[in-house]
C-alpha cells in the first residue's frame, strides 16, 4: 500500500472526525502539487532526446521576455472588441493553415492583427516547388480573406529542413 492510499484510507477520515466543523464548509484546495501549471511546458525525457524549438523551449512565463506571443491583437485590452470571436478565428486560421500547408509548417502559426489586416507568419519547409508554394499562398490569402472579410497576408519564410528549428534537446 503506497503512501497516498494510506492517507486516503486512514488520515483523511481522521482529520474530518477531529475537525468536524470542516465537513460543512467549503475549502479551497491549494496544495503545491495541483497548482503546478502544465501547459506550454515539456517534460524531460530519460534519454534527453526530445527536440524542442525555441518557442517550445521557453515556457509561457517567458512570453514578452525571451519570446513573443503567437497571437498579436488588442481584443483583450480594456475596451477591446470581439475577444471571443478573435480567439475562435485564430483557432480556425491555425487549423486552416496546418491543413492547407500540409506537413510543411515547421513552427507555430503566428497571427498578427493590425487595424483590419491580418498577417500570418509561418516557417515553411522547402518540400514543395516554389511555384506550388505561390499557388498555395494566393489560395490561402484569398480564401481566408473572404472568410474573415478583411485583407489577409501571409509572411512566409522557408527552411531547408525541419531540424533547422530545433533549439535544444531535453
Amino acid at each position: 500500500m503506497d503512501i497516498f492510499s494510506a492517507l486516503h484510507k486512514n488520515v483523511i477520515p481522521l482529520l474530518f472526525l477531529k475537525n468536524a466543523h470542516l465537513r460543512n464548509s467549503r475549502t479551497i484546495h491549494l496544495s503545491a502539487v495541483c497548482s503546478k501549471s502544465q501547459s506550454g511546458r515539456y517534460k524531460i525525457t530519460p534519454k534527453g532526446d526530445r527536440p524542442l524549438t525555441y518557442e517550445m523551449a521557453n515556457p509561457p512565463h517567458w512570453i514578452a521576455h525571451r519570446k513573443s506571443w503567437n497571437s498579436f491583437n488588442t481584443t483583450n485590452l480594456l475596451g477591446g472588441l470581439r475577444s471571443a470571436e478573435t480567439a475562435v478565428e485564430d483557432l480556425f486560421i491555425r487549423k486552416f493553415m496546418v491543413g492547407t500547408w500540409h506537413n510543411l509548417i515547421a513552427n507555430e502559426v503566428i497571427i498578427k492583427r493590425q487595424h483590419n489586416i491580418i498577417r500570418i507568419a509561418v516557417l515553411v519547409r522547402q518540400a514543395l516547388n516554389p511555384r506550388k508554394m505561390y499557388f498555395l499562398l494566393g489560395y490561402t490569402e484569398e480564401l481566408l480573406s473572404s472568410w474573415l472579410q478583411c485583407p489577409v497576408t501571409l509572411e512566409l519564410q522557408t527552411i531547408e529542413d525541419k531540424n533547422c528549428t530545433i533549439y535544444k534537446y531535453i
Binding site: 505561390y134 499557388f135 499562398l137 494566393g138 522557408t158
Partner: protein, 689 residues
Amino acid sequence: MPHALESTIQRDYTAPDYKYVDDPFLIPTSNAAKRAFALSRESGRKAALWIRKEHAEWFDQKLAEPPIKAFTARPHITEVSEASEDILRNLIDEVSVTDAITIYEILEKKEQEISDETKLSFLELLSFQNCNDPVSEDLPEERWFRQTTHGKQKLRKTWKDGSLAEKVFETLSSGPLAGEAHRALIKGMARYGQAERAHQLFRNMTSSSDPKMAPDTGCYNAVMYLTPFLKEGYEARWQFMESLLREMAGRGLKPDLGTLNSILEVLSNMGSYRKAEDLAIQTLAEFHKLGIEPCLASYYYILLTFCKERGPRSNVLVNILDKLNCQALVAKDPKDVFFFVTAMEVCRHHLQDVDLAHRVHDLLTAHNNYDLIGDSHKESVYYRNYFILMCAMEPLETFMEFYNKLVPTVYIPEPVVMEEILKAIDLNGAIEYLPQMWSDIIIFDQTGRENLLTTLLDIMARNPVAIEDVEKNLQMKESYLKIAWGIWNVVEDEEKEGFRSRNIIWTGSMLGDLMTVCLQCGEFDKAWKVLKRLGADEGMSVVAEEYEPPPLISGIPSIKSLSLFMDACLKEGSVTRGIHPSLENVCHLVHLLEAQRDGSLKESGLYGGCGKTVKPNSAMSCVACVRYSAEAGFPEAGDLAQKLAESLSLNSSQMSQLTSAVGVLRTESPSQVDSSRIDLGKDSKPSES
C-alpha cells in the same frame, strides 16, 4: 499630392518586387520564374474565388457592417436565376458582361419590360466590351503578363457581327434614345474595327435633321480613327479627316484630346507620305491654340511619324523631353503606355544617343511615372533597348554599375542582351567581369543558349589571363577553369540526357577554345579529355558492334589551339610521363587535324592505329598523321612535324613519312632522310582516296 513621408521612400533595388516573397527560396531568378511565380499566385487566388463561387453557402457569414462587396460571394447566375431590372443594372455597374447577358435573356424570355435607360447602359456595356468579359481588375498579374497586341500592329476587325449588342440597338434605334444608341454602337464598332457599318451609321446620323441624332465629338473621333479603313491613299485620308473637322466646326462641336490622338494616329500610319510630318506639327499647333495639350499617346504617334526606320534622322524626341521635363505624368489615353518603350527604341535604333536614353529613363523613374511602363513585355523591351544601347556607348564600368543596380530585381537580361554584354567585355578586354557573367548566366537559366557558351569560350581563349599580381592571376585562372569546365559539364550533361530539341552540339571551334583555356590554365588532363572528345572514342568502336559512335563534331579547332596542345603535350610528356603517352597524344592530335578535315573518322585506316591505349606503332601512325595533316592543307603541319621530330626519337620509317609529308626536315640525322621514300603510305591510306 503624395505624402511627405511617402516621398522619402524609393524603390529598393536590392529587394525583389513586392509581389514575390522576400525569401531566397521564393525569389525568382529568371524571367520564366518571375512569370511563373506571379501567375501561380494569381491562379491560387482564382482557385479560391472559384470555390467561393461554387460553394457560396460556406461564405454567408456577415462580419463586416456595412458589408464589403469584395469579400462577399457574388450570386451565381444561371439561366434559372431570379431576374429583374435592378439585378441587370447592378451587373452592368459591375461590368460582368456574361452575367448581364444571361439576365437580359431571362428578362426577354419572360417578356418583362426593361426601361430604355437600362437598355442603353446595357448597350453601352456590350459595345465597349464587344460582348466579352474583360480581364478582371482584381487580377493584376494576368493583366501584367498578358501578351497584348503590339502598338504597331494594325487594327483588325474583331467586332462580333449580329451580336446581342446589335439586337439591343435595334430595339432602341427608333425610340427616344436613338441618338445615344447610335453613338454607343458607332464607338463600339470603331473600337473593334467594324469600319463600314460604323461609317454608315455615322452618315445616318449626320444626314438626319433630328437634333437628337446629332453625333458628338466622340463619334467624330471614332470615325476619324477609322479613316485608314474608309479611304485609300494618303491624300484622300487627310482630306477626309479635314472634312470631318470642318463638319465638327460647323456643328459647333469642340474637339478634345481624343480628336488629336485620332488624327495623329492616322498620320503616324501614313508610311512614306511626305506631308505627314508637317501635318502632325500643324495639328499640334492648332490644338495648342484650342488649349488642348498632347498626352503621352500623342507623343508616341509623333515619334512614329518622325522616326521612321529608314527615314532621315529626327530630333523630335529631344523636343518632347524638353517639354515633358521630368513632370509627373497622368494616364489620359490607353495608348499612353506605348510612349516609353517607343522612346527607348528611338534612342537606340534611330538616334543612337545614350544621353537621351538617360533622360527618358529619368522621366520614367520620376514621380509615379513608372506606372506608365505598361506591361511586362513593354518593360522588358524597354530595358533591352536601354541595356544594349548603354552597353555599346557607355564605358564598361558605368554600364556594369547600372547592371548591378537593376539586375536581377528589376530586369533580367535576355540572352540577346547577355551576348551584347559579353561582346562589350571582349572589346574592353575586361575579363574580370567574366566570372560574374557566367554565374548570372547560370542563375538566369540561360546555359542552354549555344551562342552564349560559344561567345564565352571564344572570349576566354582569345584573352588569356595575364594579371601582374600573382595571387589575383591564380584566382582568375581558377575562375576561368571553373567557367570552362562548367560549360563542358553543361554540354556533356545535355548530351547524356538526350534532350534532342534543345541540344547544344559541340563544334570544333568550341572544343578548340575550351582546350586552349584548359591549357592556358595549366590543366593538361582536362585538355586531353577535350581532345579525346574531339576525336570520338575510336577504341570502343572496334570492341563492340552495337556501339553507336558519338555524333561527329562539325568544324575543326584552330591550328593555334592544336599546336598549343602539342607544345603542352611534349612538355608534359618529357617532364612527367616519359615519351609514350605524349607521343600517342600527339599522334592523336595530328590525326585529328586530318580526320576533322574530311569528316569521316571511322573510314580512316589510320584511325585504329592511334587510340587511347598505347600501341607499338603509335609513333609511326603519328608521323603518318602529320603527313595527312599537311595534305589536308594546314601549312602549320610542317612546324608540327618539325617539332615532333626534334622532340621524340623516331625510327627511320617514321622519319621518312614525316619527311614525305612536309618536305625536308632539318634533323640531326640526315641519313634517315634517304630512306624516306621506301614505306611511304604503305600502312595507312589517306581517307580522301
